[in-house]
């Protein structure tokens, strides 16, 4: 509880300081959520404490048995009054309270589950939404890291909030309450519990500390082992080609055995901590029983407040003892979830920092404001006048002037690193120049870029296709509601020189591509990406970035033919240094690195 309060305090302070600068991407509970979790925990505690009432009823009903046995009474009205009625009363009471307890417990569990679920979803939402805000031109975490944080790391938060929250509230209240109630009957029994209880965390901590670092290493080792299996299966083709399969299998088996042996060494220590817990809880119950037994015999006379311990009192103490240890054991069980959850939060905070930096270095939102602006119906003019742009401390443009007339084709060329891609990025609104103006169709980019992005033919330098079918990928360029005939797909594929290629795929347009599907070569991906661009027939602007890089001559020729077809009736800007592309009709614009761009206006 203390910890959570402290965390609450921290978040509140943080909120006051920077209300607008940061959304929580590390998956911490908001004050409201922490309070709800606490309430759920309290419900759980109430359910636990009701056991005290049940135990009292049971002890009350059974308390008459020894007296009855020694009183030598026979069956009759007296026995019924003394024994049966209390027993029936206790039974009914126990069942009623049990019903209440299970309702309370279910509520607590469901509430904490919902809250934990909410935290997971909110964390994902914050991560993804701020990732969507950043400019694609800004640096971003690697795909693998981002994906694993969004899925697995966030998922680790669930068990942490769901189970650990409840158990920590329970641990703070239930044992103390039970000790107090026990002390009311017998202070010595309470003392036995008190001695056995708090010693547990101490021992567990001592053993746990030693096991913890070792088991973290083991976990990494296991991940590596799974990774190695994955790696070997991925490269199975290579292993087969070199006849090394059998050898590799033997190596893997040996590595697995080594891992098992070293893991068991660690676990032998780690299990000691749960054994200590078991030992003290078993001994605590045993000593309570022995103490109660000896008191009832009259061999021990201390431990109570005056009157000797009654049988009912003794039974009550014995019934409570296991419940004193139950929260401790449950807490130990949930402790692992806590460690995993906190580690995940630390990792999430790190990646959140990276994402925020990427958002700060280029914010797409700047151009999202006027999404209402409509696309162009005629080829637009593009003009850069006196544009200056610094990126990451480097001056990319200084006084850049470039005009592309409506319907004109211009080739951007120049040494690598001179900012060809950046020019295209500026038109798309991925960068906001510090000085000068970039106009598309006479309007500043911050007004047009969002609408432009939705209707531009764009072919990137390393185009990416996405997980899904070929058809699904081609449709990406169009508004979600458009219906497209198969002819339209084939036409676009034809333009891009990709029709034959798709016909050869296992399932034609319905072939799955991407990570889980058919592997495509660079040239094939580029032609499909060109087809995707060609699907936007109404677009009046065509942007292409090194469209023929690392392609063989024939494939490059296909792509160039496609570009030529698409260029008619559109304003075209192509970044290239490929002589074949420069053969297309158009004007060449040579850029220089780094400070000053020269307009040479050579007719190509």
């Amino acid at each position: 509880m203390r910890e959570k309060n402290k965390k609450n305090g921290d978040t509140k302070d943080a909120e006051r300081q920077s209300l607008d600068t940061s959304v929580d991407m590390a998956g911490r509970a908001s004050p409201a959520e922490a309070a709800s979790l606490r309430n759920a925990g309290l419900l759980f505690v109430v359910a636990d404490l009701l056991w005290i009432l049940q135990a009292a009823l049971i002890a009350y009903a059974l308390g008459f048995l020894p007296g009855f046995a020694t009183a030598q009474e026979t069956i009759g009205e007296y026995a019924r009054q003394v024994l049966l009625y209390p027993a029936l009363l206790a039974a009914v009471g126990v069942i009623l309270i049990a019903a209440i307890r299970s309702v309370l417990q279910a509520r607590a569990l469901n509430a904490s589950r919902r809250i934990a679920r909410g935290i997971e979803t909110r964390t994902r939402e914050n991560l993804l939404m701020s990732a969507a805000k950043g400019s694609p031109a800004a640096p971003f975490p690697s795909a693998g890291a981002f994906a694993s944080h969004v899925t697995e790391q966030v998922e680790l938060l669930g068990p942490y909030y769901r189970s650990f929250g409840l158990q920590s509230v329970r641990l703070r209240i239930v044992p103390i309450a039970i000790v107090l109630v026990t002390a009311w009957v017998s202070w010595l029994a309470a003392l036995i519990l008190l001695v056995a209880g708090p010693v547990i965390p101490l021992f567990m901590a001592l053993i746990g500390m030693r096991a913890k670092s070792a088991s973290a290493d083991q976990q990494e080792e296991l991940t590596r082992l799974s990774g190695a299996l994955l790696d070997r299966i991925r490269g199975l083709e290579t292993l087969r080609l070199f006849g090394a399969v059998q050898r590799t299998a033997t190596d893997m088996a040996r590595a697995g055995d080594r891992f098992r042996e070293s893991t068991m060494k660690v676990l032998r220590i780690a299990f000691l901590s749960s054994t200590v817990l078991e030992l003290f809880s078993a001994l605590g119950i045993a000593f309570c029983a022995v103490y109660v037994g000896f008191s009832l015999l009259g061999d021990i006379t201390i431990g109570t407040w005056g009157a000797p311990l009654s049988f009912t009192g003794g039974l009550f103490v014995l019934l409570l003892a296991p419940e004193f240890f139950a929260p401790l054991r449950a807490y130990a069980g949930a402790y692992h979830d806590r460690a995993a959850g906190i580690a995940a939060q630390e990792k999430l905070a790190l990646i959140a920092g990276e994402i925020s930096r990427s958002v700060n270095s280029g914010d797409l939102a700047a151009s999202e404001r006027s999404k209402s602006a409509t696309g162009f119906t005629t080829p637009p003019e593009i003009s850069f006048s006196d544009v200056g742009l610094r990126l990451g401390g480097r001056q990319v443009f200084l006084g850049l002037n470039l005009v592309v007339d409506p319907g004109e084709t211009v080739f951007l060329s120049g040494p690598s690193g001179c900012g060809k891609t950046t020019v295209l990025d500026c038109i798309l609104g991925f960068h906001a120049p510090q000085s000068g103006s970039v106009l598309v169709g006479g309007q500043p980019i911050c007004d047009t870029a969002a609408a432009l992005r939705e209707n531009v033919m764009w072919l990137g330098q390393e185009p990416r296709l996405f997980h899904g079918t070929v058809r699904h990928n081609l449709l990406k360029g169009l508004p979600p509601t458009t219906t497209v005939s198969d002819d339209a797909f084939w036409q676009s594929l034809q333009i891009a020189g990709a029709a034959d290629l798709v016909r050869r795929l296992p399932r034609g347009l319905s072939t799955q591509i991407g990570e889980d599907g058919f592997g495509l070569s660079v040239g094939e991906i580029r032609r499909l990406a060109l087809a995707r661009a060609a699907m936007r027939r109404d677009a009046k602007l065509l942007l292409a970035d090194e469209p023929t890089a690392s392609l063989d001559a024939e494939t490059a020729a296909d792509v160039i033919r496609g570009l030529e077809q698409l260029a008619t009736g559109r304003t075209v800007l192509i970044a290239t240094h490929d002589a074949e592309v420069l053969q297309m009709s158009g004007r060449r614009f040579v850029m220089t690195r780094p400070e000053r761009a020269l307009t040479e206006g050579l007719p190509a």
Binding site: A132, A147, A249, R260, L297, D516
Partner: protein
């Protein structure tokens, strides 16, 4: 369910002794826990009666038993954990090996996507729960229940009936959750998680493409949609778990109340002694813990069933796909048959409309260097896959040194042909380990020489760890061209009768490429070479060139 049972059987066979020992040792702490409360209840009642009536009671035996039970419970718990975990780890290691060999026996159909494999490793890791959370608790519960029934039967018929009734209730609860294990929800959750991962990965690596085609915000919403599906699927399972928990603990409490009344009645009719009666009540108090052991396993049952089914399928689906039998003529007459001969070979991907290769025929004579030219996608690389038996032709025959390719022993074939594929795989391991895949017993000198031939020696020397440098993240970051050269070095450690080189000098600059090519031609000796290339420099060294695009079908 069938698959879960088969996994249990597999684990049993891995180490039958440990399998049973784990269950047996697990009985100790459970039984000791139940007895501890029962004996304690009996003891304090007997003590109370003795205190009241002054009858002598031997107090040392019961109190010693109580302490002994406490110790047994502790020691038993420790032993159980160590033994059951050891048994499970043995089994998982064994399972991993078997999955690997199942994959390696199988064909190289397009099955092996990264996604499927990721899931497979997760599934294997999920299977450790079957023994730990299902088999062991079930064994313990069965044995303890049996002992309880015997004990109750010795006390009285009424107690026995009552006990049987509540044991039956717990049994029914267990059976019902077995029957209702919602594998579909588990599958939905898995699919949603995978969708989430893939879409998130796309969002990081294809940011420009997404911003223009579809919008980044839509992509984010797409991931969140998967998150919602995931939550829905998980919700079902979690609700069920809570339900199970609730029902099980309620059964325990009703049992407690019932046995309370029953025992008091027993004392009234003097068929039970008070001490025994209270012992019986406290025994029942300890039972929920016993039956609760089964709950985590039951709630994870859907996930386990799914994992077991997938691992089993992965194991069975990949048992050797027999290649289609192909009519092949006898090896050619004459003293030296061609190293490689294609006779009217046709190939298409399963389900594709067009063939990739159509009735292709050619041969490569011993020592000859044959170039294969043609535009990308015309089937050049398919020739390499066919010749190395990674794929099987639809029609036609392929002969290696005069023998039908499909009938050559695997080790023989691998000795005769070395392939440098277009996308060679490098393992996340040291440079040395990557090279030794080709030749296990190569000396360090041979490794360095191979690196030298591939123009990579200096690059590796730059690194302090040399051959021991680990490739991949955090290790040696090789560029695409350097990775290809490392794969080339690996190929150069072999001495086959035929090299198939797919785009050998891709990613090398002209000077180095010419050098590497020259060295290779000196190194190859009498081996024949099938040089698949689109660059002039490689085709120029060929004795003869086969042009695939000239075929009217390709």
């Amino acid at each position: 369910m069938r698959h879960v049972l088969r996994i249990m059987r597999d684990q049993y066979r891995t180490a039958p002794g440990l399998f049973w020992l784990g269950v047996l040792v697990a009985i100790l702490p459970a039984a000791a826990g139940i007895l501890l409360l029962g004996v304690a209840g009996w003891f304090i009642t007997a003590a109370a009666i003795a205190g009241l009536s002054g009858v002598f009671l031997n107090i040392f035996v019961p109190s010693a038993i109580i302490r002994a039970l406490a110790i047994i419970r502790t020691a038993g718990r420790y032993g159980e954990r160590v033994i059951t975990h050891d048994a499970t780890f043995r089994f998982l290691a064994d399972l991993r090996n078997r999955v690997f060999s199942a994959y390696s026996d199988g064909g190289t159909s397009g099955q092996r996507s990264g996604l499927l494999l990721n899931r497979l490793t997760q599934d294997i890791d999920a299977l450790d729960q079957i023994y730990l959370r299902l088999v062991v608790p079930a064994g313990v519960i069965l044995v303890c229940s049996f002992a309880l029934v015997l004990f109750w039967a010795s006390v009285s018929r009424d107690i026995l009936l009552l006990g049987l009734f509540f044991l039956g209730a717990w049994g029914a609860l267990t059976l019902r959750s077995f029957k209702r294990a919602d594998v579909k929800a588990a599958r939905r959750a898995d699919a949603a998680r995978e969708a989430m991962r893939l879409r998130a990965a796309d969002m990081a690596s294809g940011r420009r493409d997404l911003a223009i085609y579809g919008g980044l915000e839509n992509a984010a919403l797409n991931v969140l949609e998967a998150d919602r599906r995931f939550a829905d699927a998980e919700e079902t399972g979690e609700r069920r778990t809570n339900q199970l928990l609730k029902q099980s603990s309620f059964i325990g409490q009703v049992f407690l109340a019932s046995i309370l009344v029953m025992c008091v009645l027993g004392v009234m009719t003097q068929s039970l002694s008070p001490a025994l009666a209270i012992g019986l009540v406290l025994l029942v108090l300890a039972l929920p813990e016993l039956f609760g052991q089964m709950l985590p396993g039951l709630s994870r049952l859907p996930r386990m069933t799914l994992a077991a089914a997938r691992v089993k399928t992965a194991q069975s689906k990949n048992v050797c796909i027999a290649p289609d039998t192909i009519e092949a003529g006898p090896g050619l007459a004459g003293d030296k048959p061609p190293v490689l001969q294609f006779r009217d070979v046709t190939f298409r991907y399963p389900g594709a409309a067009r063939t990739v290769l159509d009735t292709l025929s050619f041969e490569v004579a011993p020592g000859e260097v044959v170039g294969v030219a043609g535009r990308s996608g015309c089937g050049k690389s398919t020739i390499a896959s066919l010749a190395s038996r990674l794929v099987v032709p639809e029609a036609g025959a392929i002969l290696v040194n005069g023998f039908n390719l499909q009938k050559i022993d695997e080790p023989d074939l691998r000795r005769q042909i070395t392939v440098l594929g277009q996308k060679p795989y490098l393992f996340n391991d040291t440079i040395e380990a990557n090279l030794r895949i080709a030749k296990k017993d190569a000396t360090d000198d041979m490794l360095w020489q191979a690196l030298e031939h591939a123009a990579l020696r200096d690059r590796v020397l730059e690194n302090a760890s040399g051959l021991q440098t680990v490739l991949g993240e955090g290790g040696l970051g090789l560029s695409g061209g350097e990775r290809r050269r490392l794969a080339l070095a690996r190929a150069l450690l072999t001495r086959p009768s035929l090299f198939i080189l797919d785009e050998m000098t891709e990613g090398l600059d002209d000077v180095i490429a010419a050098d590497v090519l020259q060295r290779f031609l000196e190194f190859k000796g009498s081996a024949a070479v099938l040089m698949i290339a689109h660059k002039r420099r490689e085709l120029d060294v060929a004795d003869r060139i086969i042009r695939l695009d000239q075929s009217p079908h390709a």
